[in-house]
């Protein structure tokens, strides 16, 4: 009798037909990394709050892989050992997670892929469309360039880490959107690191000549901080600069005019949707109520999906997006340094 204890614990689940409120059990939430603030700052608390609201007796087990796919695999295994009934995982590596998804599936555990689409027999998927994010960044950059946008306008592109598959999706979305409309004169990976991004931006400026550059593409806000500094040092503060994630520092830069816009992927709807899917799966219901489309993942599985739309945030809609959603408050944004800029941007 070697197939042991773990399988017996999972076979018991789908009996509770009743109201979601009385359901019990546990959900595993696995997030990939911590170099950007969002996961521990927003996704985790939003998700936990929503689950609590939907099913007070359900516990959430949390793990963060710190950027390592291998750690994430171990964490999935831990969750399986602990007997969770649903796993919500934001895969650090969407291919590499397949073995873990397979293992969970074999034990009858449901898997919700969060933010990035995992390979393997995934039961549901919720995310923003990464390619769409890149497209938005591209069209946003063209808009910000205004009349200066032309096929000969030289753009400096700083991408995310080469080892991160999302970075490739952002990049392809962006390049698709600007193809033939702008000239990508410099393209390198900033490794998601602001100091590396800053140095590469300066190198690009030295290489192309400060006057020949029309704008900068930064895959996310973290790197935009470094790039903005390099632009300032070269006297290019007025040029367009993109971003992503709606970090506080980026909002402040947008207010101050040193960054053009960021892409806001509202965490709350995403986390809420995932929590709803998880609780549904936990209680044996279908996810059809939220998953209005399907996505095919890398291993060919058709996954019911809820794809949310990202929003471009610039000086004009800060108030109606991140502030209205409670992501950041006006006092958080308008510190003394940014008070004057806030005033002129109409944030008070």
């Amino acid at each position: 009798g070697k197939t042991g204890s773990a399988s017996s614990s999972s076979s018991a689940s789908p009996s509770s037909g009743g109201s979601a409120v009385s359901a019990s059990g546990s959900i595993g939430l696995l997030l990939p990394e911590n170099t950007t603030t969002r996961y521990e700052q927003f996704d985790k608390p939003y998700f936990e709050a929503k689950v609590k609201q939907l099913a007070p007796n359900v516990t959430v087990n949390y793990a963060n892989a710190g950027g390592s796919a291998q750690v994430q695999a171990q964490q999935v295994q831990t969750m399986i050992n602990e007997g969770v009934k649903v796993i919500v995982v934001d895969p650090q590596d969407s291919t590499q997670i397949k073995a873990s998804v397979d293992a969970a599936h074999a034990k009858g555990i449901k898997v919700v892929s969060y933010d990035r689409l995992a390979e393997g027999p995934v039961d549901a998927y919720v995310s923003f469309d990464n390619v769409r994010v890149g497209q938005l960044q591209g069209t946003g950059l063209i808009d910000a360039l205004g009349s200066k946008a032309s096929p000969s306008a030289k753009i400096v592109e700083i991408d995310g880490a080469q080892s991160d598959p999302n970075a490739a999706q952002f990049k392809s979305g962006f390049q698709g959107a600007v193809k033939g409309k702008l000239d990508i004169a410099y393209d390198a990976s900033g490794q998601w690191l602001p100091d590396v991004a800053a140095q590469k931006a300066t190198a690009a400026i030295n290489q192309l000549g400060a006057h020949n550059i029309a704008g900068f593409y930064s895959a996310n806000d973290e790197m935009a901080a470094g790039i903005a500094t390099s632009m300032k040092n070269a006297g290019l503060s007025g040029l367009p600069l993109t971003g992503q994630d709606a970090q506080l520092d980026a909002i402040q830069r947008i207010v101050a005019g040193t960054q053009s816009f960021t892409i806001y992927k509202a965490y709350k709807p995403e986390a809420d949707s995932a929590a709803q899917m998880a609780v549904d799966l936990l209680t044996g219901q279908s996810t059809a109520s939220i998953a209005n489309t399907t996505q095919t993942n890398g291993s060919g599985n058709k996954v019911p999906a809820d794809l949310l739309t990202p929003v471009l945030v610039n000086k004009d809609n800060i108030k109606s997006t991140v502030v209205a959603d409670g992501l950041w408050t006006i006092p958080q944004i308008c510190t003394p340094t940014y008070a004057a800029a806030c005033k002129s941007a109409g944030l008070e």
Binding site: G4, Y62, G66, Q70, Q74, N81, Q96, K98, A99
Partner: protein, 406 residues
Amino acid sequence: MDPRLLVRQEGLRGYFDEFRRKVRGGELGSIPVVVGLIIIWVIFTVKDSKYFSAANAEYISYYMVGLGLLSVGLVFVLLLGEIDLSVGSVSGLAAALFAVLSVNHGINPWVAVLLTLLAGMAIGALQGWIFARIGVPAFVVTLAGFLAWQGVMLWLLGSTGTINLPDTALNHLFSGNSFFLNGDVAGAYLLAGLAVLMMAVSLFGQQRRRKAAGVPYRPTSELLLRTGMLAVAVFLVAWVLNRASGVPNAMVIFLVLLVICDFVLRRTRYGRQIFAVGGNIEASRRAGISVPMVRTTVYAISGTFAALGGLAIAGTTSAAGQAGADPNNLMMAIAAAVIGGTSLFGGRGRVWSALLGILVIESINSGLYMLGLTLDIQYMITGGVLLAAVIVDSLSRRTQKSSGRA
């Protein structure tokens, strides 16, 4: 016999007396680490009762293998008083190479394994050669390797990104659902019995030979005690693992390699040469040992184990990806060897320290993952425990030093 030597009394009694004297003099050996391990287990069990379960024991015994293999290779290097910073990158490269060979090029998986291990060995030998023959400090050579092999790995995976590995051949053995004798209860007990038998044969054989040659030997009571203690430990482990799914094949491979390495280090000329070079390079050179040969081969061994460890790590995720060359793997593998008691300064250590150290590290990891702490707390705890483990060890070694035994 020198009248100043405090000789142990005959029999079990004398054994305990000496043990007590050793503990008082700070010659604790592995005791602090073992005690630390037990404390870690108790704390996590109090925090979450699921921690102390057969499933978690199985978890630890499986996940320790990848890093443990890296650590074994590092023990060889540490015994020389050197370091190999490239093992993390080499392990990532090995997994990528294997995946490209076996999946993309369709080469027979066992042949691909062989080629991968040879590549690891060649990389290690190259680094060792640059260190030994050209005289570039090993730290720098392997730091360069740390960067360069990572680059080669990215380049290899370049067009495809992560590659999923099929559940065959060595990948199957290293995967989480492959157990010794298919998880049959007898399998675990067979292994345990084998271990006890080997220990007994070795100990009693030695006693007989020493008796015959008329040199001092250990009393039979002590040998029985040692064999008995080992028996209790291994049968307990076997019993626990049987309550889950059995003994993971990955662990069997790891243990067999440990036994072989232990034999090489302690009972062969080559092992003696490694210790000698780690203790005093000039003395070794003058004794006619080819120091460059020893250095080159030791790095080749380290490279081979790094490659094997990379395959084992890839086995845990059944995939080879760009994040394979995680620098944390390097840090943890070194930490394991040191926690287990291998000196960073060369000439002192055993391969078993890799096992002991990796047990400590994986016990902490599994507990932290289970508690679902945020990463900042997790970093702080891992750092703190690592430190505590070694502080105890160092304190005991200090007492030892003040009584002249270090």
